[in-house]
Symmetry: C2
Subunit: 156 residues, 2 copies
């Protein structure tokens, strides 16, 4: 069960949407299942509790809750999507393509970059979540493949 469910429900109603049992189940499932929850994992979880709850509803509700900024969408390394609860203070991830490990980043590391995009391109970068892909300490190999192909070191 989500710590601020009542407040979220109040907000949804205030915005003209309904708080249905399905939406509550799905939101709770995301909270319980933790970080980077896949739609399939949510479906498995809620389907056990409410067997008639359909896959379509899971996908629709996940996207709906993301639109409402209650969840955030996370791009995984393989291109698939996952979801997690959005908090008032965003955080971001460094995702290693080799070992799939996740490093959490505080939002502050992006401040200057976001400011630059705003002033140079008048583009407001979404604050909710980023995943940066690359290679962690133990898996530095990206530069090698690049060098082999293009004959010079990757730009930094």
């Amino acid at each position: 069960m989500c710590h601020n469910t009542t407040e979220i429900n109040r907000q949804l109603r205030k915005r003209g949407y309904r708080v249905t049992p399905q939406r509550q189940l799905i939101l709770d499932a995301v909270c319980q299942l933790g970080k980077h929850v896949t739609p399939e994992a949510v479906y498995d979880h809620v389907h056990r509790i409410a067997p008639t709850l359909s896959r379509a509803t899971v996908y629709r509700v996940l996207h709906f809750l993301t639109e409402q900024r209650i969840l955030t969408m996370v791009h995984m390394a393989d291109g698939r999507l996952a979801f997690e609860l959005a908090g008032p203070e965003p955080h971001h991830h460094l995702v290693c393509r080799s070992c799939d490990n996740l490093l959490e980043l505080p939002h502050s590391v992006l401040r200057s970059f976001r400011r630059a995009m705003k002033s140079q391109y008048d583009f407001e970068i979404d604050v909710s979540h980023f995943s940066f892909f690359g290679h962690c300490t133990d898996c530095h190999d990206s530069a090698d493949a690049w060098r082999q192909l293009w004959g010079h070191t990757p730009p930094v």
Copy 2:
């Protein structure tokens, strides 16, 4: 036809992979079709030339060529994937979630951010491609929903 196909083929062979007609067709298709080529577009294209070439092969080869850093994967606003030829000088995108428009960014805007991640976290961010989602000049609305839910302005 790709300008440096021969070099790419040489590299693939050198890395122990085979240069098959299917792989060549698919790579050429991506080159010809330009930026942000969807798997379906590639399939339509190559299927006309080689009717037995299957959809599965298209997906497999696109992912293979991405792994080999010959293509890059581009996340579109709707969550779908597209591909494009990776050049020696990467570029990035600002994707508006409201109007789906794309702004191209030179790689240089990320230099200081990548340096910081390297020194602070010993994490080497993938140079090939980023998509940053958010809202462009005409579509600034993200801050409002956030404020309603969390009762304060989004962190900057």
